[in-house]
Symmetry: D3
Subunit: 241 residues, 6 copies
């Protein structure tokens, strides 16, 4: 069977993934992560101390903020700063990224330090949230190294690595890995899978945009997502090597 | 094995579910839905016409807004109207409810009519989003009947019914159905399942609050969620009979 | 003379008033108050301590917030949380309720405790602010009992009870008690009267929507309001018995 | 009996009231109104047309906005523009001024024109809302003349004049007219009375800041308010002569 | 050559400048400053202490806020408090006024005191920012005297005086001093010059609204601005005498 | 004399300037502009039509928005989208960029098209506004070419090119060109100069952060700025060649 994907990929093939570390000079960790034409700049900012509700607990904190530049997309969007409010989608993705990273953090080992991951989409071509999670892990690892260099850690805060990928069915019912924009728009079902480096699930978010899906279809998507996350884990390791 | 659930339920047992239709006088459909002590008031509002971006398409629209009264919870929360911004969690759940209902809607049959589902949590004890979806479907069905009575439909807009339930593992590794507040807070893994009356998946949202989960554990949760949704579908049918 | 009121009431007759205590499980006091089809859920939340500007004074504080669910009314209103600002009418009524309750509070006896009364209109059919005040007093009394049970009071904080009712003239010049929605919309003059259980005035707010009114007309409305508040005081006592 | 008022006035005496017309060059009507040291600048702005919900009705519209400069008061207040939201008190007074003026307007004679009254308090010493209403009527009358000069009226839009004054009891139980700041702060009961030039009531807003008041006490305040409004009506006529 | 200016002034002639001190009773310094028909009310508010980021430094702080009343202009503008956000022009001018005043302040001599200058434009006819700066210096001087009277100063906080004026070319290429509204609107190039009493520059803000300007043209404008500021300095001294 | 500049530059030397065109795939013009470590991403978005107030005039429109990523700076800043308001500095710079570009635009030749320049600072090391203007001109030129390719122009909309640079005195009184962050922070006087390719001034914004400056000092800064803008104009031409 020949592939019918827009960019000539096989159904189970990732786009070209590039992770460029230290893209910024000021941040304690920074990554330009690219999934094909999707390009996300991740900056990890370390501060001593934790939010007020956590002070004195001896535990650290990790959080994330996601945003898109106005012209990341095909047509320009209004800035949320000018609209004066953060949209629902932005909120939702910020929360997803934060939860995903916290799933591999040992708060005690991190000590009372906070790491904020800013994920700004410079260019969007589908899969911005999965690229953001995948890149944010690498920036997080660099920020953790920075803290280690300062002697500010009480152990190894990274219990595991974490990566994410999208999967979905095209209209012909073929399961596709790492959807780019046109594929994402056309997909009947869309699943974002966030997995640890050791192969367990952190988040599974499946949505039937078109037709509801069966248990078997869900299984096929999970298989493909597992494969994609394993490959992304390998790329993260190389980048950090 | 004896149940260790706080309220004496079996692991695979729903809380008492009550669906009271026509709780309001003005709304075209309205339901007070209760999952145990969780109590959500759903009002369906019908308006002729659709949002501007959809005008002239011949297609209808369904959307939802979720909110909590300040004292729905154990301690009082500040009002989002007074804070001047809608929180991320509120946004996220509103979007989930809207997508879930739209998954069973035939826009063409609905014609250029809009139905807004307001889901206001009067009392929260875990599972507010799943109760909201389950109740909202019933209010939606009543609003559709209202439109049918006006001769405003171009066919049957309801392709299927939709219901939702939460499932999760307690610290002993037992899979529990329909988590109430304390169980939800303690769960290592939490999965919200939204399913159609015919047993297919509309949304699957799994989150590892504590430890990441394996494919087998995900399978166990999906089994339990499928069972719960089937039971909720039965209760919805009774309510609408 | 036969009554011409829409719902068959005599001009000086209240709608059926129902006060259901303990409608919520979490709040320290809660009431579902109904004036006919007007239905307001009141939750009293107790917290130790007072706002910063009052700290160390030895005095307590009582405040209120009023809001309407989007579909409380005949046609759906936009949520103030989504508009990002609280409207003038909402502000005005919240302030009225707060002042009315504070008029019967002995701050010293309350000690440095705060009670917030959330009055959420589930269904509106005229008189939502007067129903809210009348119900809020009962929830407040329950919250005070809660504090008494904790041994947190320095005396009896309730100096009196407080209730409220609306009165107005219909187009035929007949003075009507407790206006429902259609009567309220049609009234030339509208007066809200807030009175203590011992028969003194806390607030008198008269507005000539149509024609300005004379001193005699004001007197007639005050007579009727006095009568209505006395009856509401009786109903409050029964509810609290 | 000798007066005990701070500024030597008799209990039933107004402060010196000054109404300076045409204080601004651009506005269609403008007044600097002073009640003693309280100083309010009122600008009436005329625009052709009415708000959308009124278009095509043949009826005009009158509305008002009230605000305080940051240093109108003894200590500086934060600007509402910088806080990003209009406070409850501001909203409430704006609404009161608007209703008061509309009570004397014949919308049909005004035709589809809008008059906005901006009432900006330059200096506050009690009675800002009553000064604003009293001055706004004069600015409104000038704006109406402006429209008459343009031939834009369909008759006489001013059915009557309108003025307002505050009254209250001091701690010795003496009823005082036109409270300045210290008197207002100390008053047990506070009543704002808005009356037409022909002596009928437009608004009566009485509040028991301290002790609730009896029917007789309310009567005494209404007598004094009636007297004060009559005097203000005379001053308005002189200003407009 | 005869002047062609709208109001008959010579090209290098200021409008009539009036500075009325103590226009308000509460503020520690206050000035009504008029540049022809442009009328700005400046209130200086003194508070003990400085913003948090400056606490403990022993240094004082001076800041400014600029705003326009809705009907200061030919047609009414919406209030920024109601729009819920401060516009870019307002921000920009507030910052300019604050910087200009701080340039002549010795923070150490001021001690840990804050002076806020509120500049509210009551009527706008061009040059509101320059009138505001010129008047604000006088109000600042009065506020400094107030602090001196309290023995709260550690020396002389005013290192110099500061004044401002606008200059620009009309369409005939004539350089004009102190542009009023019509001249300002028509000017190809507009320069605001802020200078100390001793003749040095604090701010120079030149903008080519129409055609870019040459170095010689800039020189001519700077000459004229220098002349205007010297004259304003003289008027400030007279006012403070 | 040996240079004392932090990075070894001569006083009259620009940092290394890099202009990378077509950095984005979707935008009609896009540039990554770097002044040393200052890095600004500019996207030009073309839309048919102009804002409402300009419709039907036959004239085009050009506007700009400036913003900083949270970690563009040494320490992380809060997002303006989350604060819910755009800061004064952001507003001020957005307006400056817009005016600078419009100064070289022939609106008639542009026709009723709008070009929005989004200038997002990825990394800040001083001179972000001057880098933004310099880069935005290049992106604007590409967007104009795009419109030309569509046959949507009525002539040549670019009357000239425009570039900008900062100049200032260090504490030793040496005039420096193109200040990087530490130099900018330490400068007593700071001047931003915006000039056309043909050597005339579009904007001159001088601020005495420390000591006010004399006419001669202003002259020296203008000389240096003129030199810097000429060099930047050359670099722009190369980039566009």
């Amino acid at each position: 069977m020949t592939s019918t994907r827009i960019d000539g990929r096989q159904p189970d093939q990732l786009r070209e993934v590039r992770i460029t570390r230290n893209w910024l000079d000021h941040a304690e960790g920074s990554v330009l992560v690219e999934f094909g034409r999707t390009r996300v700049l991740v900056a990890a900012s370390v501060t001593t101390g934790v939010p007020r509700w956590r002070t004195g607990s001896g535990l650290g904190w990790v959080t994330a903020e996601y945003a898109m530049l106005p012209r990341a997309t095909h047509t320009r969007s209004d800035r949320e700063s000018i609209k004066g409010r953060v949209g629902g989608r932005t909120h939702e993705i910020s929360r997803l990224i934060g939860r995903s990273l916290r799933a591999v953090i040992d708060y005690k080992a991190l000590g009372e330090n906070t790491i904020v991951l800013d994920c700004d989409v410079l260019q969007a071509d589908g899969g911005t949230r999965t690229a953001a999670i995948t890149g944010a892990y690498v920036a997080l690892a660099d920020a953790v190294e920075h803290l280690r260099g300062l002697g500010a850690l009480a152990g190894e805060p990274l219990k595991d690595s974490v990566a994410a990928v999208s999967v979905g069915f095209n209209s012909a019912g073929v399961a596709l890995l790492d959807l780019q924009y046109e594929e994402d728009s056309a997909a009947e079902t869309d699943l974002n899978v966030v997995m640890t480096g050791s192969g367990t699930f952190v988040e599974v978010q499946g949505t039937a945009e078109g037709a509801p899906f069966s248990r078997d279809e869900l299984g096929a998507l999970l298989d493909l997502g597992t494969l994609g996350c394993a490959e992304l884990t390998r790329i993260q390791r190389e980048a950090l090597a």
